[in-house]
């Protein structure tokens, strides 16, 4: 029992460390990526012993700065809620990772270790529950600040969450219908099959429309451009207007964490999670009949790498979108959510149901 | 001599004046004669005697040129560099004296022998270029006559009071005109006997015994006698302005502050026929009911003042002045008041202010002097020559006088001809004489040169070119010709004259002599001089000529007295009539004629 606990702790620690570091790394990526897009150089200072590492230490400096900055709590703010809100945000963004499998089970001696922090049957529900709860942090921050702009930001966030949560949920129904499970580990495993012997049976192929709806709505969930209306730096600043120091940093962090969560989810749901095409537990089984047996640890490593690369590609994509698209107007946001994504998702479910009925449980 | 030792003499001087402050100039003269200069102690002493603050004494001392505030040499050599003298070589003379004495104007020789000063017109233009050694006029000293100049310098370095080698000047006196100059040639004619022998004082006797003041004024009016100081205001009319019903005392003031460059006629009357002036004064005083007359003589006229004083003393002795003159019951006192070197005091109100012991500031008119003049009392100010005409009128009748001249101006005038003529000097002629005739009478242009221009009435008058001189010399004709008769100083310029340098000389004179009261004149004269001076230094621009005309125009008619106008007229006339020459000078940076810097003694200016 203690062993299991230890193993879980190690896995949880690994996820925690990876995700947080990735989030930190994101600040650098965002700087550099935007710089490259805009023909700039981007962060290239903050040397440590003369090394600048392409400006990578700026993130470190940022963190140090945020920790040492004066923490301001507005006079009329609700002190407790104001303090709790950022922790809420970060916490729910982090715990969402618990249910995401990031690799195939690892055989260590005779012990099988799931590369997933928590094996939950209805993991999908859990993840979305956590993501939905994240909005509480935003709302609390907005209300506790006692600042009109903050409240406005909080309200916008709430409305946006509700509008897009529905689209996400419905878009995923198709996935669930196709794979018949809500356990993410199962879902990933199911995507390991081949469709017609050649094409991996990934969600993207099974549910292309669902994917688009999901990605769009999930982006909205992250409150990043082009859906950053709750923040809206150029108009209302948003729910964290009254935050400074590390509390602000936590909202900032949440932003990146959510990006990673969404990227991970998209990978898991639509791109086969840790699956590598044609790679099974026994090795590569190419459709043309070729075979390449691999050790279990290679298999696991390849799985983790696959998951990571897919996730990073999504992160990159989201970032690229953020530096490409301008912000939506609020009415456009609502139109898109309610009049665009929602009906499309519903139609997608119906069409999926029909297709499944016709195929008659071929999966 | 100590100041305390002068108190008695100061007392005598103070007694001459109605108000103590009026004794300012004589007292300062007294101090300077005895101490060589006016020291701060002396200023305090004078201020105390007069009941005037020491500041005001210093004001007066600093205003007049002839007072020294610092110790000076035992002798003073004043070299005139005004236009008439410069036309005949005053610059060369000054240069010789400077190089010989090794001092600049304003400085004193190290041994305190002599102080050299450069002065504006000493009104002895007939002996130009000339100088004044202490109280004596000496001249002429053409620069080429080196020996005469050396002699003058030796005299200057000798002890005062000793024998001097420089001869008395011998001015050319050809004039024996009908009215004023009949007695000039006779060196003994200044004595009372000689004057009475020539019929003098008969007019005065007639007036005192048989005429009323109104009749006298009537007679003078009928003679068309104009004020010959320069303004040309009918003398009789002026006299008639004196309020007859006023109980206040009335004053007659004779303006002998001759200062206009090119004019020297009054000096001849004062020196050679003082009794004519006294008789005229007696008649005039009778006509206006005055019992006190002042003669304001410019400070540089030492000998004329002495001659007049001698005549006055004689007249007192013979009962022609003082109480109950010749038993007629009429009283008249005459006081000579010395000026101290300020051209502006020739203006009648400035003369009155100066006479009252102030700086020579012209007064605002109204009120006019005939209503409120000297000491606030009705006052008539007349020029020496004007008054000297009066005996003739009363003796021979107004008609005789008036028919000599033109319809609007009777009689003759003493014309002072100077500059580039063969025989500079005083010429009496009827006022109807033309300018060309005058120049010819004076021998014409010297050295056979061609005539270039003539100033008909003293330096202030607008210049006339050689083509314009066929004009009668009375006031109205000259005004018609665009100039003025002024003081009768005719300055002749030949073709070698540089008009720019002539204007510089005039401008310097006016800048130097402006009293500084009214702003247009104070600043304008200095401004004009600086521009013209800059042109003579070769740094002129064509814009300067327009500026000069504009400044001159702006100065005109905006001041208390006509000094500013007088300063503006030469500028306007020289530039408009000789613009080509000015432009050529500016273009070349120097005169196209002769340059002063060259040692060219034959062609001064």
């Amino acid at each position: 029992m203690v062993e299991i606990l230890l193993i879980k702790l190690v896995v949880a620690g690994l996820v925690f460390a990876a995700v947080l570091n990735l989030a930190g790394f994101h600040t650098w990526v965002e700087r550099k990526q935007s710089a490259l897009i805009q023909d700039r150089i981007g962060a290239n200072r903050a040397p440590i012993f003369g090394f600048t590492m392409l400006g990578m230490f700026h993130g470190v400096a940022d963190v140090l700065k945020m920790f040492t900055k004066e923490d301001i709590v507005p006079d009329r703010a609700d002190k407790v809620l104001h303090t709790i809100a950022p922790f809420f945000s970060v916490f729910f963004a982090l715990v969402a990772f618990a249910a995401i499998p990031f690799g195939p089970p690892l055989h260590l001696g005779d012990r099988v270790i799931d590369l997933q922090v928590a094996k939950i049957d209805a993991a999908l529900l859990y993840v979305f529950a956590m993501l939905s709860l994240g909005v509480y942090g935003v709302i609390l921050a907005g209300f506790a600040s006692r600042n009109n702009y903050a409240i406005m930001g909080g309200l916008r966030a709430t409305a946006q969450m509700i509008s897009y949560e529905i689209a996400i949920g419905i878009s995923l129904i198709g996935v669930i219908m196709v794979y018949g499970t809500m356990d993410l580990a199962e879902l990933v495993r199911a995507q390991g099959q081949l469709l017609g012997g050649w094409v991996p049976f990934w969600g993207i192929f099974a549910q292309p429309v669902g994917f688009i709806v999901f990605v769009t709505a999930a982006l909205a969930e992250t409150k990043r451009l082009p859906f950053d209306l709750p923040e809206g730096e150029s108009e209302i600043i948003g729910y964290f207007v009254e935050y400074s120091g590390m509390k602000f940093g936590m909202f900032f962090l949440t932003d990146f964490l959510e990006t990673i969560v969404v990227a991970s989810l998209a990978t898991t749901l639509f791109f086969g999670g840790w699956q590598v095409p044609y790679l099974t537990e026994d090795g590569f089984l190419f459709p043309w009949g070729g075979q390449l047996p691999v050790q279990n640890w290679v298999y696991v490593l390849l799985g983790v790498a696959s998951f990571s690369i897919k996730g990073l590609i999504f992160c990159f994509l989201f970032m690229q979108l953020r530096w490409t698209l301008p912000r939506f107007r609020y009415d456009q946001l609502m139109n898109l959510g309610w009049k665009g994504l929602f009906p499309i998702a519903v139609i997608n479910v119906v069409v999926t149901a029909f297709v499944l009925a016709f195929l008659g449980g071929s999966s | 001599m100590k100041l305390t030792d002068l108190e008695d003499r100061a007392e005598v001087i103070l007694r001459r004046y109605e108000e103590p402050k009026a004794a300012m100039l004589p007292l300062l003269w007294l101090v300077q004669e005895n101490q060589g200069h006016v020291s701060p102690e002396a200023e305090a002493w004078v201020g105390r005697l007069l009941g005037v603050s020491i500041t005001h004494v210093r004001e007066v001392v600093s205003f007049y040129n002839m007072y020294h505030t610092e110790p000076v040499g035992r002798r003073e050599l004043r070299v005139c560099t005004s236009l008439p003298c410069r036309l005949r070589g005053a610059d060369g003379l000054l240069e010789r004296i400077r190089s010989s004495l090794k001092i600049s104007p304003g400085e004193t020789t190290p041994g305190k022998e002599v102080t050299l000063t450069e002065v504006e017109c000493l009104c002895a233009c007939e002996m130009a270029p000339m100088a004044q050694l202490d109280e004596r006029f000496v001249g002429p000293f053409p620069p080429q006559e080196k020996e005469a100049i050396e002699t003058l310098i030796q005299d200057a370095l000798s002890e005062p009071g000793g024998p001097e080698a420089t001869p008395e000047p011998e001015p050319y006196i050809c004039s024996d005109g009908p009215v004023l100059s009949t007695r000039f040639k006779d060196p003994t004619g200044t004595w009372l006997e000689a004057y009475t022998a020539d019929g003098g004082y008969s007019a005065a006797r007639k007036v005192l015994t048989s005429m009323t003041p109104a009749q006298v004024i009537e007679e003078v009016m009928g003679a068309n006698l104009r004020g010959l100081g320069g303004a040309g205001f009918p003398a009789g009319k002026k006299w008639s302005f004196i309020p007859t019903d006023s109980a206040r005392s009335k004053y007659l003031v004779v303006n002998a502050d001759e200062g206009e460059p090119g004019t020297f006629k009054d000096r001849y009357i004062l020196e050679r026929d003082p009794h004519a002036l006294l008789e005229g004064m007696l008649i005039a005083a009778y006509a206006i009911g005055s019992h006190k007359a002042y003669v304001y003589i410019r400070g540089e006229y030492f000998r004329p003042a002495q001659r007049l004083q001698r005549a006055i003393d004689e007249a007192y002795g013979r009962g022609w002045l003082g109480k109950n003159i010749q038993g007629s019951g009429f009283d008249l006192e005459v006081v000579i008041h010395p000026g101290a070197g300020a051209y502006i005091c020739g203006e009648e109100t400035a003369l009155l202010t100066s006479l009252e012991g102030g700086k020579g500031f012209p007064r605002l008119k109204p009120p006019f002097p005939a209503i409120s003049g000297l000491f606030g009392c009705p006052t008539i100010v007349n020029n020496v020559e004007t008054i000297a005409c009066v005996p003739f009128i009363l003796r021979h009748g107004a008609a005789r006088f008036s028919e000599i001249g033109t319809a609007t101006q009777g009689g003759t005038r003493l014309f002072c001809v100077s500059g580039h003529v063969v025989r500079p000097g005083v010429y009496e002629a009827p006022v109807s004489v033309t300018l060309r005739e005058l120049v010819e009478v004076a021998g014409g242009v010297r050295d056979g040169k061609k005539l270039k221009a003539v100033i008909p009435g003293g330096i202030s008058a607008k210049i006339l070119t050689a083509d314009e001189i066929d004009v009668a010399m009375d006031f109205d004709s000259l005004r018609g010709a665009g100039s003025m008769a002024g003081s009768g100083g005719v300055i002749v310029m030949d073709e070698s004259t540089c008009m720019i340098e002539a204007l510089e000389s005039a401008a310097r004179f006016f800048a130097d002599e402006s009293c500084g009261q009214c702003s247009p004149c104070r600043e304008g004269t200095g401004w004009v001089h600086r521009i013209v001076h800059r042109i003579t230094e070769g740094r002129g621009t064509f814009q300067d000529l327009d500026d000069l005309l504009a400044i001159a125009g702006d100065m005109e008619g905006k001041t208390i007295c006509v000094f500013a106008d007088a300063a503006a007229w030469p500028v306007q006339s020289y530039i408009t009539k000789f613009r080509d020459e000015f432009e050529e000078y500016i273009r070349n940076g120097r005169s196209g004629r002769t340059r002063r810097s060259e040692e060219d003694e034959a062609c001064p200016v």
């Binding site: 490259l36 023909d39 700039r40 150089i41 | -």
Partner: protein, 206 residues
């Protein structure tokens, strides 16, 4: 105001779909991204140095040339004897819209100069760099041509420049250590700058 109605272009179906348009956008940004990524990498390896990958100027190592009329930090110009040209006319203090200039004039030993500043402070924290002070100065005594752009300090007090600093733009030290040639050597104020805002009682009426 005239109102001009601009007809919006009706979106085509493909445009309404968003997705192709988004992809177009992504194409543009991605082109830049990958091109620059390639070039930067090449530059790191010392290749293709002549092909620029960015428009960035690396301030402070690289600086763009300043326009001659650029308004940088102020300085007080000097006479030949190293005393300030300023005559203390206070026109700059008068014209300053930010009221950042504080001048206390004093009597200069040379009567032809008459006035000179005992004190001349500019509070850069308040300055709006409008340059009016330079425009208005009748003596050309103040200029904004030092080219000093990096104006940062750790306190508001440190943003206040006194006359010593304004005369020698490098100098920032106590007056007692000052070696600048002053006509007065601060003597008329007993070696101190007088009349500071802090020493002045605030009047209620103002």
């Amino acid at each position: 105001m005239a109102v001009k109605a601009v007809q919006r272009r009706e979106l085509t179906f493909w445009e309404k779909l968003y997705i192709p348009q988004i992809i177009c956008g992504l194409k543009i940004t991605s082109t830049h991204f990958f091109r620059n990524l390639f070039l930067h990498t090449a530059h790191l390896l010392g290749r293709l140095k002549n092909v620029p990958a960015s428009v960035t100027i690396q301030y402070p190592e690289e600086r763009r040339p300043l326009m001659s009329r650029y308004r940088s930090r102020h300085r007080l110009t000097l006479r030949e004897d190293n005393s300030p040209r300023c005559v203390g006319c206070m026109l700059c203090e008068t014209v300053c819209p930010a009221r950042c200039i504080t001048i206390v004039p004093g009597e200069h030993p040379d009567p032809d100069v008459e006035k000179y500043p005992i004190r001349f402070d500019i509070d850069l924290g308040m300055c709006v760099y409008c340059g009016y002070c330079v425009e208005v100065c009748p003596e050309d005594a103040i200029r904004m041509d030092t080219g000093i752009l990096d104006l940062a300090a750790y306190s508001r007090e440190a943003m206040r420049l006194d006359i010593h600093e304004l005369m020698g733009p490098k100098l920032r030290k106590p007056i007692s250590d000052c070696s600048l040639e002053f006509p007065h050597i601060c003597a008329s104020a007993d070696g101190e700058m007088k009349g500071g805002w802090d020493s002045v009682p605030r009047s209620k009426g103002s």
